[in-house]
């Protein structure tokens, strides 16, 4: 396979390399986005669970491996702040994903044009 690639024109090789890099970046963005989404789901679940509790309910917050007693109002405020932060991150990651996908698509179209005259299996 490596041999076949080195036979291609340098410009095409460069494009292929760039495509691989973009795909790797997209993969890492998708992983980050998934983590943020998991975090957001957890926050939502915790918030809806807290909603059902009375104002003087006993609540603990994890600080490292310790559980520290906390109050409902403070915990809800904390969670809402984190939710906002994660929502922002999710938006940023979504935009990155969109940009990467369009870059990849462009590059794939160019590569298809580059490779079609030499491809033995034309549709």
């Amino acid at each position: 396979m490596g041999d076949e690639i080195s036979k291609l024109p340098p410009q095409v090789q460069e494009r292929l390399l760039r495509l691989q890099q973009l795909q790797q970046t997209l993969q890492s963005v998708l992983v980050q986005k998934q983590q943020v989404e998991i975090e957001l789901t957890e926050i939502e679940q915790a918030l809806s669970e807290l909603e059902k509790m009375s104002d003087d309910a006993v609540i603990y917050k994890a600080i490292g491996s310790l559980l520290v007693k906390s109050e409902k109002a403070k915990t809800v405020a904390d969670l809402n702040e984190r939710k906002e932060l994660f929502n922002m991150r999710a938006t940023v990651l979504g935009k990155q994903e969109e940009r990467l996908r369009s870059q990849i698509k462009d590059l794939q179209t160019k590569l298809q044009q580059d490779l079609s005259p030499v491809s033995p299996f034309q549709p």
Binding site: A46, L50, V58, I59, Y60, K61, L67, T75
Partner: protein, 145 residues
């Protein structure tokens, strides 16, 4: 004609590789779900045991490394349950048992659906392998002729 079969072979081998990766991913998710099920089953067993204990019972609390510290059961009816996002709530023992039971039920459903997916992928791999083998045999015969 031969090149068409060769192309088919290449496609099949790519598909088989892809399906094998999918099967591995599903299997690792099943393993993760199993680990959580074991963890929750232990928690449930602990709660069921605790239910029969009275206040002030002497306990040994594991601190890891097969080591324990001594403690006393202050209130057997108060259990702290994690809700995710680093938040834990105080629940009664019955409530805690209910929560754990529901989580276990959800996980069992997830596991069943993953196992079904895995079986489907495995079936597809088997089909593809059979096709692959018969194509190879066909190609060999043609080349020999």
């Amino acid at each position: 004609m031969a090149s068409k079969s060769e192309e088919e072979l290449r496609k099949l081998s790519v598909e088989i590789r892809f399906l094998e990766q999918t099967a591995e991913t599903i299997q690792s998710r099943i393993n993760a779900v199993n680990a959580v099920i074991t963890d929750l089953t232990y928690a449930n067993m602990t709660l069921e045991g605790l239910e029969k204990e009275k206040e002030n019972t002497e306990l040994l609390v594991p601190i890891g490394g097969n080591s324990y510290i001594k403690a006393r059961l202050e209130n057997p009816d108060k259990v702290i349950v994690g809700m995710g996002a680093g938040i834990s709530l105080e629940k009664t023992l019955q409530e805690a048992k209910e929560i754990i039971k529901k989580r276990l039920e959800n996980l069992e459903r997830t596991r069943a659906s993953l196992q079904q997916q895995l079986a489907q992928v495995a079936e597809r791999i088997e089909e593809d392998r059979e096709k692959f083998e018969s194509l190879i045999a066909e190609l060999r015969e043609r080349k020999a002729a």
